[in-house]
């Protein structure tokens, strides 16, 4: 019997190792994610938390601010500055629609008709980025200056009569009117519309156009039934890339507008940097963010492009 006891203990039915053999590799994806996660924590999560706490503080600059869970700051901010919110959505929305109307034909041209000019036109679309955003916006100040050629031409063509009637311009001026702000926004964000549009149009197989034509679709029907639906991912991302930054922009309203064209971005900027009312500024920022998120979610739902994007 002793021999039996000396024998190595019978092997317990060994369960197959559930772990994959290369155990060390298990953490690799997380290590690779680490720099990005750190970046997000330091530059997104922490500031958000900080800002959230700021928004519910009360106090004054002299006495210091304390967290008092003063949620009424949100209501106060909204009731005081709702016109600027409405204006932001209106201006950004108009600029986005104008960008789409201007950008779509251009993106279409580059994708399907430009031939060997394609790269040159693409460079021209991106070229403004080589100059600072501020300088480009300041240039519009000169372009739209009182008594300048643009205003003169609009006057001669009686366009200003129409825009005056619509309330977009005032008298003989374009500068310091809503029209000027919308022009600036449209100009500054146009490339963000064109690039995604071009990308999605360029991916469309040209034979689909031929197939549609072969199946009795006139060119316009082909566009409506084939080209446009297939370019929806580009339309959605283009409008988002235009609308979101435009809604929060304050440079255009600041340089090209007047006190009557202030957008919510201007209010936030003033509250933070001039009035130094941090809670109100933080609350406004959160309201703007929530409003944009809500609108974007509704928009993506409506456009039904979940499976395309």
């Amino acid at each position: 019997m002793s021999t039996l006891t000396e024998a190595p203990p019978p092997l317990a039915p060994q369960a197959p190792d559930p772990r994959p053999p290369k155990r060390r590799g298990r953490w690799t994806p997380y290590w690779l994610l680490l720099p990005g996660i750190l970046w997000l924590i330091v530059f997104f999560a922490l500031p958000m938390i900080y800002q959230a706490s700021t928004s519910v503080q009360t106090g004054s600059l002299e006495e210091g601010y304390k967290v008092t869970w003063h949620f009424a700051a949100y209501w106060d901010a909204l009731s005081a500055y709702w016109p600027q919110f409405v204006r932001s959505v209106l201006y950004a929305g108009t600029a986005t629609i104008l960008c789409l109307l201007l950008g779509y034909p251009l993106a279409y041209l580059i994708a399907f008709r430009a031939g060997r000019w394609r790269n040159l036109i693409m460079i021209l679309v991106i070229a403004p980025f080589f100059t600072s955003f501020l300088i480009r916006t300041l240039a519009w100040k000169t372009i739209l200056a009182d008594g300048g050629p643009v205003v003169g031409a609009l006057n001669t063509l009686h366009v200003l009569d129409v825009t005056n009637w619509l309330g977009w311009t005032a008298g003989d001026r374009v500068l310091a009117t809503p029209l000027a702000v919308v022009c600036g926004l449209t100009y500054n964000f146009l490339p963000f519309m064109i690039l995604p549009l071009y990308t999605s149009l360029e991916r469309i197989d040209g034979r689909l156009h031929e197939a549609a034509g072969d199946l009795y679709a006139r060119p316009w029907t082909t566009f409506r039934k084939v080209t446009f639906p297939l370019s929806m991912p580009g339309v959605v991302s283009g409008t988002l890339l235009t609308f979101i930054p435009a809604a929060g922009d304050y440079v255009n309203a600041d340089l090209l507008g007047s006190t009557d064209t202030r957008m919510v971005g201007n209010v936030i900027q003033t509250q933070f940097l001039r009035v130094l009312d941090y809670p109100t500024a933080a609350a406004l920022s959160f309201i703007l963010m929530a409003a944009i998120l809500l609108m974007v979610t509704l928009y993506i739902r409506r456009s039904g492009t979940e499976d395309l994007v």
Partner: protein, 387 residues
């Protein structure tokens, strides 16, 4: 179904040509495709067959000439006004529409309101009734191909154009779809014009085949006619394999031409000679490998009289199941190919054996000796291998 003798449905191409700058894709071409026929345009890539098809569809504007569908001159009509539909090479199904809407596309464009019944019938015809609500990318290649056919056929076009429709399928599926397409064509009776580079595909499916080479139609005829009686070395080589012997016209006897080749005589029926045969002139004598019998030189006496015969030595033989393929070196033609059915195999027929090749003169064809015997063999079929 349709009256096949009614000339109002013929496709008539008159002097149609296409040039791109200096390059001529299609030389002026006259072609009539009778209504209800299954017509194949066969050729290597770059021979102009697809360009010809696209000119019929209206996707390409001819540089010269006219396209008639029946009595109607459609040359100037845009594609959406032509009673013609195309099955594209990679199907070009609309990725954002489901199968039902893909098939219904043409009907809806023509303003039909209730399309359900027609679409369902058409999907049943191509056996895809169950897949109606799927998106094209959810289907296999063979199913997508059938959707493309259904999408075109549902419009009852005067002509259905097929641009290498089976090119993307694997071999087995291809054979299956060939039969399927042939069945559909017989069922609906619409004229099919089929572009392909696969000679077997053209021969199994089409009633009439036009062999194209470098922008020209080399020869037009039924598959049997083209195979048995090729008019040029290109056709002889592109459809199957041919052996060529350069021979000199010796004399004429009755309906036959007697030719001298090497030391021997060959007989060629005059009707099967497409070249001018004047005494002393050169003619290329062709014969298909499967028409030839091989007899060992020792048994040469047993060969019946009246057969064309040449002598040679077996250089190589390969057994491929149903047949054995021999390469025979002969003084009149190096690398003569012979396919022998494996019925009674003579064990003496091994490489190195002296043999006599003989065949019925009726299987001989004569071609103009002024052309290369290599036209249409692989690697010489125009632009294809140029890259």
């Amino acid at each position: 179904m349709t009256n096949k003798t009614d000339p109002t449905g013929d496709v008539r191409l008159t002097g149609i040509a296409k040039t791109y700058g200096d390059f001529t894709a299609v030389h002026p071409l006259d072609l009539t495709v009778p209504q209800g026929s299954f017509f194949a345009l066969l050729g290597a890539s770059g021979c102009g067959k697809t360009t010809t098809l696209r000119m019929i569809a209206g996707l390409e504007e001819p540089s010269a000439g006219t396209v008639h569908l029946g009595d109607q001159d459609v040359t100037a009509l845009p594609p959406y006004k032509r009673p013609v539909n195309t099955v594209f090479q990679s199907y070009a199904l609309f990725p954002h529409l489901d199968i039902f809407e893909n098939v219904a596309f043409g009907l809806r464009r023509r303003g039909l309101k209730s399309v359900r019944k027609q679409v369902e019938e058409m999907l049943d015809l191509v056996q895809l009734g169950e897949q109606a609500r799927k998106k094209p990318h959810q289907l296999s290649g063979g199913q997508q191909q059938r959707v493309a056919v259904a999408r075109a056929l549902i419009n009852h076009p005067k002509v259905l154009l097929l641009d290498e429709p089976l090119g993307a399928l694997d071999l087995k599926l291809r054979r299956q779809m060939q039969l399927e397409l042939k069945r559909i064509q017989t069922e609906v009776g619409i004229t099919f014009i089929h572009v392909t580079h696969d000679q077997e595909e053209a021969m199994t499916m089409a009633d009439t085949v036009a062999v194209m080479n470098a922008g020209r139609v080399e020869q037009l005829g039924s598959p049997t006619d083209l195979y048995e009686n090729p008019g040029t070395t290109f056709v002889a080589n592109f459809l199957g394999t041919s052996n060529f012997i350069e021979a000199e016209v010796d004399s004429k006897s009755g309906d036959d031409i007697v030719l001298k080749a090497g030391g021997g005589k060959l007989v060629l029926p005059e009707a099967r000679c497409s070249a001018p045969a004047s005494t002393g002139g050169k003619v290329l004598v062709g014969v298909r490998p499967e028409k030839i019998s091989l007899t060992h030189a020792d048994d040469a006496g047993e060969i019946p009289e009246g057969r064309n015969r040449i002598t040679g030595r077996i250089a190589d033989s390969s057994f491929i199941g149903v047949s054995t393929q021999y390469v025979v070196d002969s003084p009149v033609c190096p690398g003569f190919e012979v396919y022998a059915q494996n019925i009674d195999r003579d064990p003496r027929l091994v490489p190195g054996a002296e043999v006599v090749l003989h065949w019925n003169p009726a299987h001989t064809f004569g071609l103009d000796a002024a052309q290369s015997v290599f036209d249409g063999t692989e690697g010489s079929a125009g632009v294809e291998e140029a890259a």
